[in-house]
Symmetry: C2
Subunit: 370 residues, 2 copies
């Protein structure tokens, strides 16, 4: 029996709908396994900007800080015209959470279900045997050029007499690289013992340093094989020979692009969960933020059409990594796989299926199976 | 009848083998259509570093400058350990050519042949109707953080008492964005009249400026529809719904990653040609550099195994864009498509084919068809 505090941040667009299903699953786990989960729900993103004037309030931040885990939905994007207005932007909630809680490792498992091969644009023979885990660096790189408080990392648009120019800075310290690469090797040691490190070392200085660090860390893990791969080559191999990968570790923006690409192997980005972890521990695991890989999808919002599986599998990762409840996590994953194998489909994975179900029905079936 | 001077830079690895076939095709065109092509062959890349101590000599550069077009093979990578040695790097040849000749627009057409659907890892129903053209910005961005001569654009590894860090700078001026975006809209006006501009405006300042410029240029092209797409979303859509794209314009590194990914639609990166163009004109077209998208593939070198189609289709682009020989370009493209439809396959596209042919045989058949 476990007691845990979870802060829920549903956010914008389809965020609240998919998060509701993930919460229902956590409720079912709580009951079945007799745990007590204390849940605090708070606003983030556009929702928070409208209600509280900021993408995430200090108050919400405090609540998060006193939890064992954070369950996150999605945050919206401002319309194009507004990105340069200088006001608060919804993504800042995510950036602040990632940065201030030190979530440097973003885990994104990609394991296509055989029963969903029909939903993927790839041929089944290319999907067979695919089971990879991305470890995306989440706390540095081009994403944090905007933090003016960090000297030497500008991100700005300069309007001068000579004309307008814009600059972003890709900066990595050795330590920022090392901690995420170490995490990747440790995880690989418990899997197929293979690490692919992705960079652009033929162009970027930060990638040259990245390679140096990887080689040093690799020397400490003689039982794990590793390879360097250029990001452009990796973008090919993910589609061509996805089964060759085990653990893929890469910097922030490369990880963003490659994981979205790889999501297509599973049939839909709606299937993918993620866990963001740092150095802070909870009583029985790591403090972490759990969110589906998909975004807020405003065009689907409020229509009971989004796929809740990414959010539900994120809840499974929460049980595993933050609460140390491996059996419960596995039970949720089994329930998801069962329901999908039985033919239950939301529209995003509904290729060739007669009747697709809505967000709530998909969630209900998974809860029932539990 | 046309007189033209072409400088050929075969480079490393499979570069010389595929370039030889492209040259054979140009020779056949010369004869059949009674043109006179004066060809100068020069060293670049590792080949030049070994023979001349630099990735591209000033002398070679001069020869290039006095040509109508450059036919480029591929340049190798130094082994990982050597990237940080500080000595000349083979890629510098490419960077210097791109930068000093002002080749800011890199055109990469992706049009999978129906007869090669079997070679692609994508399902045929997803490939159907795909015909897209990437316009990759080639003269700025993270690639040129290394040029120490440009102030405010550092790319370096700093080893200080506080520790080691590495920095790369992503800088775009409005002018650098505008010229390539304008090129994309102009090209789109002669195609399906649709531009997809790819950026990461929810994170990067340079992307926010990119969007501003695109909107301004779009206003000058009311008959062309356009959309903004985030790079992560684009990495998905390229596999999911590739037929939806017409012209895709994006910054340097995004273009590098996305075009390699998109090459998988055609079955192999060995199929893809490219043209790099700037502002300089020739007598009947644009001065340009033409190269297959694939790299030097050292593991295949010297074995008559590489696919020469990317190089041959690059020669077709050379005929079209630099020499103004549209009919000849179309004839080369038709010959390639014919030979492939007839079942001729190098090993990279040989999925399910009994006997594959070598580099030379593939070239010979295309020449024969001409
Ligand atoms: C919303 C956006 C800023 C975010 C990112 O780029 O990190 C998203 O794409 C992700 O992958 O979590
Ligand atoms: C060789 C390498 C530097 C080059 C690049 O990244 O531009 C290549 O990948 C390309 O796409 O032309």
């Amino acid at each position: 029996m476990s007691n845990a505090t979870i802060t829920v941040l549903p956010g914008d667009g389809v965020g609240p709908e998919v998060t509701a299903q993930a919460l229902a699953v956590l409720g079912a786990v709580e009951e079945k396994y007799r745990h007590t989960f204390t849940v605090h729900e708070r606003r983030v993103g556009l929702d928070a900007i409208e209600a509280e004037g900021t993408a995430i309030s200090d108050d919400t931040f405090e609540t998060c800080a006193h939890s064992d885990a954070l369950l996150f939905g999605a945050v919206g994007s401002l319309p194009a015209g507004q990105t340069r207005s200088g006001g608060p932007r919804p993504e800042q909630a995510l950036f602040r959470l990632r940065k201030e809680f030190g979530f440097f490792a973003n885990l994104r498992p990609v394991r296509p279900f055989e029963s969903l091969y029909a939903a993927s644009s790839l041929k089944p023979e290319h999907l067979k045997g695919t089971d990879m885990l991305f470890v995306r660096e989440l706390s540095a790189g081009l994403y944090y050029g905007r933090l003016e408080s960090v000297p030497g990392k500008p991100s700005e648009i300069r309007r001068t007499a000579r004309g307008t120019e814009a600059v972003d800075t890709l900066l990595y310290t050795e330590e920022e690289i090392e901690r995420v690469v170490r995490a990747a090797f440790e995880i690989a040691a418990g899997r197929e013992r293979k690490v692919t490190s992705v960079d652009k070392a033929n162009v970027l200085s930060s990638s040259v340093l990245w390679r140096e660090v990887v080689e040093r860390v690799a020397a400490d893990h003689p039982t794990v094989t590793f390879e360097h791969m250029l990001v452009d080559a990796c973008a090919m191999r993910l589609i061509r020979t996805p089964a060759d990968f085990d653990v893929i570790v890469t910097e922030n923006l490369f990880g963003d692009i490659l994981t979205d690409e790889a999501s297509m192997l599973t049939g839909s980005i709606g299937m993918l969960p993620s866990a963001s972890l740092g150095a802070r521990r909870t009583e029985s695991g790591m403090f972490g933020l759990y969110e589906p890989v998909h975004g807020s999808a405003p065009d689907l919002a409020g229509q009971d059409r989004a796929n809740p599986v990414g959010a539900i599998l994120s809840a499974a990762l929460l049980l595993r990594h933050s609460l140390g409840l491996e059996q419960e996590a596995a039970a949720v994953e089994e329930a998801v796989e069962y329901v999908i194998r039985e033919g239950c489909r939301t529209e995003d994975i509904g290729e060739g299926v007669h009747a697709v179900v809505g967000t709530r029905e998909m969630g209900r079936r998974i809860v029932d199976r539990l």
